[in-house]
């Protein structure tokens, strides 16, 4: 009996491997290998005649030529990468804090107090998720242009109505980042806050805590994992964003690290440097990515 069971399991195992194989191959060839190609280009050289990248596939022969060029761009004279890197950090931090300040109250209200309107509000919160990013940016480009509604509204209330919002303002880029990524943050916060057991809050009230202290000492600590997950879900894409600021500013004074990478990839002879900068960004993001991946894996195990 036991023997039959094992042989059936073994045959079953081959079935599972066969089912997983096509997807696994696709993932390895088009997700793992590409990052190896990135390493090979970063550690490779340049064909000085055609100014094209020459990848080095053997790790033992990797050169540090591209790395030292990038290092000069960061720390040497005429360095131009430091400013975009710093700006990326500042913009991302500002946009994340503003997003949390808006998203948390909204998610909190909908999860706890929306009552009969909850379904309607949820549909409205999910709606922007289905509107493409380009459409939402285009909408603001319409509103923020010189003769647009924002300036008309400002001059209507007596303020200066001639601000060039799209002419390279950090404020506009941070605003765009908030507007672009906040729908994801709200959904994550909602899902987390909605799962907080209401009886814990009632217990806190029964034990004499006021409304604010219940919020600060029970709800906020219980939602901490959700806040962390939500922060990652907005920070990771913001750090690699180049299009928001290209659309809403396109000025050199607001470039982010994503724009630097894009620029290097598109100019002749700088492909290797683009690969080095991408790898640096990847190394910095490896810690939050790993944390996020592990917590996702843990969450999917807990369903069982």
């Amino acid at each position: 009996m036991n023997g039959i069971g094992t042989s059936r399991d073994r045959r079953g195992r081959w079935l599972w491997i066969a089912l997983a194989a096509p997807g696994a191959v696709w993932l390895i060839v088009l997700f793992v290998v590409p990052f190896y190609a990135m390493l090979a280009v970063a550690g490779g050289g340049i064909n000085s005649f055609f100014e094209t990248a020459v990848p080095t596939w053997n790790p033992l022969q990797w050169s540090s030529a591209n790395l030292s060029v990038v290092w000069q761009d960061i720390a040497g004279t005429g360095a131009y990468l430091g400013a975009p890197a710093l700006r990326t950090l500042l913009y991302t931090a500002a946009a994340t804090i503003i997003s949390l300040a808006i998203a948390y109250p909204v998610a909190y209200f909908v999860s706890r107090y929306a009552g009969r309107r909850k379904a309607l509000m949820l549909v409205l919160l999910i709606a922007p998720f289905w509107v493409s990013y380009m459409m939402r940016m285009l909408a603001w480009i319409d509103l923020l242009q010189q003769g647009g509604f924002v300036n008309s509204a400002l001059s209507f209330v007596g303020l200066s109505g001639s601000t060039d919002w799209l002419g390279g303002k950090s404020v506009t880029v941070i605003f765009g980042l908030v507007y672009g990524y906040i729908p994801y943050l709200i959904l994550v916060l909602y899902a987390g806050l909605d799962r907080i057991d209401g009886s814990l809050l009632e217990a806190a009230r029964d034990l004499g805590l006021g409304r604010w202290r219940t919020f600060w000492r029970v709800t906020v600590p219980l939602s901490k994992p959700t806040i962390i997950a939500g922060t990652f879900i907005t920070v990771l894409p913001m750090l690699g964003d180049y299009f928001t600021n290209q659309l809403l500013s396109a000025a050199p004074g607001t470039t982010m690290i994503g724009n630097a990478i894009e620029g290097q990839l598109q100019s002749a002879g700088e492909t290797g440097q683009g690969a080095v900068v991408s790898l640096m960004l990847l190394v910095v993001l490896l810690i939050p990515m790993t944390y996020y991946a592990l917590s996702t894996a843990r969450a999917s195990r807990e369903f069982a």
Binding site: A20, M135, I261, L282, M289
Partner: protein
């Protein structure tokens, strides 16, 4: 997302906060008006600009901020600049549809097989593969796009830039949707039904085909909707992997024309068509998902959503 909406709609409690009035000062169940006002303001802020952009795609003039009467000239009327007549706008719509359909057709079956295989084939290899899949979900899109660009231009040169490379990249970027959602559903289903089928004489394969797959249908459908909609939206991967103007979908065309080139309400019209595709798919998905899960109290999609969110 469609699945999530339906779960959420059916999970609304019957106004639990409404009833109990307390005589004490500082009634703890009073409505927080300020918070409610803030929430509505957010909703208006998130939706009204898009509604205005849709409205101006029907403007009978070239302005995106001064209303000059209703017209469909930017869709069909104008013989040079309308979506119907301008070759590059027209081309972009076709390319978006092509990419979305091809990507969905490849990604969903690959993801289903991967989810079932990984869930049942327990071992070190399968959990490493699972981690690779989750990393493909959390990696910033720009980094994946750059890596794919280097792969396609330096190593696998037969995947030429253009539609082939775009589809290859979009499949890997969207792969985690079906893989995570179908897996979450698999875990809630458990192995019981399948074992019952094999005990009654079905082979493993036919147990999967005739018992498991029908039960997985809502999850498969929800992930197909998500893959399709997110491919319609996709920008970074297709921008890096497209070659000529002929392989640029709507998102890339809008991006490259905002500052110069084709301007005016024609771009709004193009964006509105994109919106229409996404909403149509969402609506079909929502209705079909509700129909498939009728009479069921499962939490599959909500769990999938929160699992994806990593909480």
């Amino acid at each position: 997302m469609a699945g999530a909406t339906s779960e959420v709609l059916s999970a609304v409690p019957g106004g639990a906060s409404s009833a109990r009035r307390r005589r004490r000062r500082g009634n703890p169940w009073r409505r927080p008006w300020a918070l409610e006002g803030f929430t509505w303001l957010y909703i208006v802020w998130s939706i009204v600009p898009v509604a205005i952009a849709v409205l101006f795609s029907f403007n009978n003039g070239a302005s995106q901020s001064t209303w000059q009467g209703f017209s469909t000239k930017w869709y069909v009327g104008n013989s040079v600049q309308s979506v119907l007549h301008n070759p590059s706008l027209h081309q972009a719509v076709v390319q978006t549809l092509k990419l979305s359909i091809l990507t969905t057709l490849i990604t969903v079956p690959l993801g289903i097989g991967f989810a079932i295989g990984i869930d049942r084939w327990r071992g070190r290899t399968s959990s490493s593969l699972n981690m690779v899949m989750i990393f493909s979900f959390v990696v910033p899109e720009l980094l994946l796009a750059v890596a794919l660009f280097l792969l396609v231009t330096q190593l696998l040169k037969f995947l030429t830039l253009g539609t082939t490379a775009e589809v290859a990249g979009l499949v890997v970027w969207n792969f985690s949707w079906p893989a995570i959602i179908v897996r979450a559903r698999l875990v809630t289903i458990g192995k019981t039904y399948e074992e019952a089928a094999t005990d009654l004489g079905a082979s493993r394969l036919s147990a999967i085909r005739r018992v498991l797959l029908p039960m997985l249908m809502p999850a498969i459908f929800a992930s197909a909707v998500l893959v399709f909609a997110s491919t319609v939206d996709d920008f970074v991967i297709v921008e890096q992997l497209s070659s000529t103007a002929a392989t640029q979908p709507m998102s890339v065309l809008i991006y490259s024309n905002v500052h110069g080139g084709l301007q005016g309400p024609a771009l709004n019209a193009l964006a509105t068509i994109m919106l229409f595709f996404s909403l149509a798919v969402a609506l079909v998905g929502f209705v079909a998902y509700r129909w498939m899960t009728r009479g069921e109290r499962s939490q599959g999609a909500t769990q999938a959503l929160t699992g994806i969110a990593g909480i």
